[in-house]
């Protein structure tokens, strides 16, 4: 059983709290992505699992045992570093064999395993080279091979794709996903790229400032962000956030922003943010009921997607549109289905359930 369980893990570096009371369970065979902005504590969390860093508080379980006391080499985990950490002076073969040699695996077995793994990752023709003679993508595969060959209980991957260029990153993403599907090993994967997280993960753990904000499936993270930060961080362009207030009036409970007024209920009055994904914004060239007049500030076309950057009287909105036929300065009218609206407590950022309608 290679479940990984973190129980109230906290890690302090002097004054900085890098990891703040994180608890989560990675089930056997699951692919969990730790997602968050730079400096939020992802790497630290991963290193605590590997044993390279010792937590200040809490316990780490791998399988059934507490590993707080176990040295990294005895945790039976493998780690792929952001920099790949290939040994520049060793040939690829020896790089891959390093861990086996260190564990005194018999030579014949090493040869067999290295060759198998290299074949699987299609790097068997590179075994005689040194890392310097490899391209970024090839190095990445060697790093993976080095982890795979050991057949550990848990794989830890720290931003393994961030050094690749855009095209290669996308391609390798798919490879890693397939690998996981094939091996069904427990994997913990760190990234700050939400696309990676969305496409790879069985479950995403969104972390910010050391705190675990949401731990759920990619679609849940995308569709039901548990925190304002999650809504903002996941998805491109970001969720539109409109600050407003839930007030009780004589006509009922309403959510007011400077430009929107919605019926809403289900929470205490107070300040909230209304979040709407660009995909959920409906743009039309003619005004309709409840529509908001905006002028086009810009259009971003990526070939398959078009994003419309709009200005309204009090701010800006981004909408995803299918046709690119807008010109800068043009007047358009936007509206959205209240069903798609998300609400977040202005103070804590936590998602709240409000049923809203125009």
């Amino acid at each position: 059983m290679a479940t990984v369980r973190l129980e109230h893990i906290t890690k302090k570096f002097g004054e900085t709290t890098a990891v703040d009371d994180i608890s989560l369970t990675v089930n056997d065979g699951e692919f969990v992505v730790l997602l968050g902005p730079s400096g939020c504590g992802k790497t630290t969390t991963l290193r605590i699992v590997s044993g390279l860093e010792v937590q200040s508080e809490g316990h780490v379980y791998i399988g059934d045992r507490v590993v707080d006391d176990v040295e990294p080499k005895d945790r039976n985990v493998a780690m792929v570093f952001q920099s790949y950490a290939l040994y520049p002076h060793l040939k690829i073969y020896d790089n891959i064999a390093f861990g086996l040699k260190a564990r005194h695996v018999p030579r014949a077995e090493i040869i067999k395993k290295v060759n198998e793994t290299a074949k699987m990752l299609q790097i068997h023709q590179l075994l005689d080279r040194k890392p310097a003679a490899l391209s970024g993508g090839q190095r990445q595969r060697v790093a993976l091979a080095r982890a795979l060959v050991r057949d550990p209980e848990v794989f830890l991957l720290d931003e393994p794709l961030s050094n690749l260029d855009a095209k290669l990153r996308a391609a390798t993403r798919i490879e890693i996903k397939n690998l996981h599907l094939r091996l069904r090993k427990t994997m913990i994967y760190v990234t700050h790229d939400q696309v990676e997280a969305m496409t790879l993960a069985d479950k995403i753990a969104v972390i910010n400032q050391g705190k675990l904000l949401q731990f759920a499936s990619p679609m849940d993270v995308f569709m039901k962000p548990a925190h304002r930060f999650v809504g903002d961080f996941v998805g491109y362009p970001s969720m539109n956030m409109l600050g407003g207030e839930l007030e009780e009036t004589s006509a009922g409970t309403f959510f007011f922003t400077p430009v929107i007024r919605m019926k809403a209920s289900g929470a205490q009055t107070g300040k909230y943010f209304l979040g709407i994904r660009p995909e959920d914004i409906v743009v039309s060239k003619s005004s309709s009921e409840n529509s908001l007049e905006c002028s086009v500030r810009g259009l971003e076309r990526t070939g398959s997607d078009n994003y419309l950057f709009l200005d309204y009287s009090e701010g800006g909105i981004v909408a995803s549109v299918t046709s690119p036929d807008y010109s800068v300065g043009e007047k358009v009218y936007v509206t959205f289905d209240p069903v798609n609206a998300h609400f977040f407590d202005a103070a804590t950022g936590a998602a709240v359930q409000l049923s809203a309608s125009f």
Binding site: V54, E57, H59, D64, V66, D68, D69, V70, E71
Partner: protein, 297 residues
Amino acid sequence: MKLPSFFGSMKKRLKGRIVSRILSHFALIVATLFALFPIYFIFWTSILKIQLAAITLSSLIPNLALITLYNYNYVLSDPTFFTIYLKNSLIFGLSAAGVGLVLALFTGYALSRFTFPGRKPFIYFIIALMQFPGTMLVIPYFFMFKELNLINTYLGLIIPYSAGSIVFTGILVKNYIDSIPEDLEEAALVDGETRTGAFTKVIIPLIKPILGLGILLAFIGPYTDFILARAFITGNSLQTLALRLYSVSSISSSGGAAIDYGVFSAFSFLMGIPILIIYLIFQKYIIGGLTLGGVKG
């Protein structure tokens, strides 16, 4: 399963680390004692009442009763210590370091940033020249400088002293400039600077760290030189600390009077002070500079 307590859970891993740390500290303390002992020995014998031959292990233990400032008084009460010896040594050391460094800057820059024809042979050439035993240069220098009437002049010593460090410091500077990203200069070029402008405004300010090591090395040589000084200094007013130290440490003309080891230590210690000051001021830079691969053994 009973959960171990927080401290219990930490203990085992920490224990291994603590043992290895204790061993490390032990090794480092032994090495540090080894490194500092002779320096302590110089210092302590300079204020020790006991004669050198009577020094035992127990008299090395700091003890106020054994202290005398006689030796320092002896050395410092002679005003020429300052007005001649120290002054001249500082003049030679500092001016040689200054001149040598400026030349080394230009050299290092050219070797690092230009790929002029002849660069590689040139580097081979200066490496080869570095292998010539410097002791022997004194004799040809002497005959050359004699022709130029530079014997027993400040200039006559500053010139060879400056030259003495230029090859080594030049290579040091080159290595350092190699480590500065070239695009900083390119940015300056595109921003409208000439190559010289980029050198003076971008490279020179960035190269400061290496100057610490450069100054120390270029200073120590002339400051402690004995061989060249002995051949070139024939008058009273140019005498240096090193020459004086040698006469303090060696027998007199009458062929036998004992050196006063206490005076020798006090003199040595005083002579070392300027170097320790330079070392401590530039310590950070010196260590940084050393890492670029110098050759002083």
